[in-house]
């Protein structure tokens, strides 16, 4: 085999893979701009004859994609932020304060959470939120999401904080700074890279979560994007363009985020799986 040909074989194989990944997205994107089912059926592969942007307006307003979208956004962000802050505070106490035995025990205790596969606790958590009378409110998602983030976040932030040298805080303590001040003004700013990674991983996890959102929330106005989308698909089953519009609405924000932060996202997600 000539060298040039041999060199191009991997590229050819990988290009086929890339096409298999990207074509479904393009198919949905083009369909979302098409006028109706007839146009999709007659010209499945081509670009739309005229780009029908009104599909997007219709899905956003009439089909309540906007409601699902904002619910998802604020729940995912709030739960991720609270999870990260709680984990950072805990990691600070475990790695910087002088209670080594208690800290080691707490660390092990929190890591037990990483051994339990998510949906094993589903029924028990369902009954728990029911007993707390928060079923069908956003609390029933916010609390489990924030709690679910803790084991992995504590693990990663602890690892990061251990690497910060102690000289800085020694000087700060000499100058009379308190422990909370030390945390907020010295350690937290230095930990920002780890906090960002952990926040993004948690945010994506919450944004994509389906099982709890499906069964803990039954009011349509409270649904998040993954469950609202399923609802939307079942309601508009025969309007393919509109369903495709909904898919674009839920894929686009994540794809844009990924475009900017791909390295952080890939590193964060793979680190999460390897340590878990």
């Amino acid at each position: 085999m000539p060298a040039a040909l041999r060199k191009s074989v991997p590229h050819v194989v990988m290009m086929v893979y890339v096409v298999v990944i990207l074509v479904p997205f393009l198919f949905v994107l083009f369909s979302s701009f098409k006028a109706n089912n007839t146009e999709i059926a007659l010209h499945p592969f081509g670009l739309p004859k005229s780009w029908k942007f009104s599909n997007y307006q219709e899905a956003w307003v009439k089909a309540k994609i906007s409601v699902y979208f904002w619910n998802s956004l604020y729940l995912a962000a709030a739960a991720a932020a609270v999870g990260v802050l709680l984990s950072a505070a805990t990691a600070f106490a475990l790695t910087r304060m002088k209670f080594p035995k208690t800290s080691a025990a707490i660390y092990q205790f929190v890591l037990i959470g990483m051994l339990i596969p998510g949906n094993v606790l589903f029924i028990a958590q369902y009954l728990l939120v029911r007993n707390l009378h928060i079923l069908n409110t956003h609390w029933s998602l916010f609390l489990p999401y924030a709690a679910g983030a803790l084991p992995f976040s504590v693990l990663l932030i602890c690892a990061f904080m251990r690497a910060i040298p102690t000289e800085l805080e020694e000087a700060a303590v000499m100058d009379g700074m308190s422990a909370p001040g030390l945390f907020a003004r010295i350690i937290l700013p230095l930990t920002v890279p780890a906090l960002v990674t952990v926040f993004i991983v948690n945010f994506l996890g919450n944004w994509n979560e389906y099982l709890l959102a499906q069964f803990f929330i039954s009011k349509d106005a409270l649904r998040t994007l993954p469950t609202g989308m399923v609802q939307f698909r079942d309601a508009f089953q025969t309007n393919y363009a509109l369903v495709c519009t909904g898919i674009v609405f839920s894929v686009a924000p994540v794809a844009v985020l990924y475009g900017f932060l791909q390295r952080t996202i890939i590193e964060g997600l793979t680190a999460g799986s390897l340590k878990g």
Partner: protein, 293 residues
């Protein structure tokens, strides 16, 4: 220095919120699961302890057995179809210089998306009237196939979608391991006249065995707890043909209110996960714990 970082009240202030939330949503549900699993509780009547009856019933329950087989399909498909492909693709990506970053970014993309959206997206691709596959088949004059509506195709269609979503994630894991191997080893083999395929098979693959083991275990664990994709694409249908253990557990608990029985099923899922990963560790992963370069 001593007093500032040794104040127990400040320490508690930092630690307690996390412990409280973690206890409420992890430890407490674990403890209640261990209780519910041994009762016949249906959410309304008084709950009675019935010992191991739920577990005995589960293994006699034909529908649950069927869902176990479906989990088995997930395991077999990921270990014997996906993982060989994943290793091949990783080797291919590691061997190129141009576009390496592009390949890595693209194949990883589906794994950051919501399983629910991917289920809807692929439901549309599989659509017998206007879907991508039906449209391609139409060119060749073939009849449309009801991928998700026929029992004999539905499971296969879900497996393909699941592979499409997750393969890239594992490719990135294995690729990182391949790229961490020192270049000198590969150089030396090349100078000795080993071909690319020989170097891949006799050098790279043995050196990344630990990571492949990790990927096998993650795949098995993932295959045992798979649920979202089934609920979104078929809801276990047609007629329970695609139910997996977790989706069966969820429908028993939520649709029928059989909390005791459902919890017993979730304990069985957990036990399977522990058992299979322990067996795999024992059989394969133990022999080479660390690779020395």
């Amino acid at each position: 220095m001593k007093t500032t970082l040794k104040n127990p009240y400040v320490y508690l202030g930092f630690v307690l919120p996390t412990i409280a939330l973690y206890f409420l949503f992890f430890i407490y549900p674990m403890l209640t699961s261990a209780v519910y699993g041994f009762t016949d509780w249906n959410g309304l009547d008084r709950r009675n302890f019935i010992g191991f009856d739920n577990f005995a019933n589960a293994f006699g329950d034909a529908d649950f057995q069927h869902s176990m087989y479906n989990n088995l399909y997930f395991i077999v498909f990921s270990v014997f179809v996906q993982i060989p492909l994943i290793v091949v693709f990783s080797l291919l990506i590691s061997g190129v210089k141009r576009l390496q970053g592009f390949y890595k970014t693209t194949v990883f993309l589906p794994s950051i998306l919501s399983t629910s959206v991917i289920g809807i997206l692929w439901g549309y691709i599989y659509n017998p009237d206007v879907g991508l596959i039906a449209s391609i088949l139409k060119i060749f004059g073939a009849e449309p196939i009801y991928w998700l509506g026929e029992s004999k195709w539905a499971m296969f269609a879900i497996l393909i979608t699941n592979a499409w979503q997750w393969m890239g994630f594992y490719i990135v894991l294995i690729l990182a391991a391949i790229l961490a191997i020192p270049k000198e080893i590969d150089e030396a083999a090349r100078i000795d006249g080993a071909s690319g395929a020989q170097r891949a098979w006799y050098l790279t693959v043995p050196l990344i065995r630990p990571v492949i083991n990790v990927v096998v275990m993650l795949s098995i664990a993932g295959a045992l707890r798979v649920v979202d994709i089934v609920l979104v694409m078929t809801d276990g249908g047609p007629a329970g043909a695609t139910d997996v253990m977790a989706s069966y557990m969820v429908s028993k608990a939520i649709k029928f209110g059989d909390y005791g029985y459902g919890t017993a099923l979730s304990i069985i899922i957990f036990a399977f996960a522990l058992l299979l990963t322990a067996l795999y560790q024992f059989a394969f992963a133990r022999r080479q714990e660390r690779v020395e370069y």
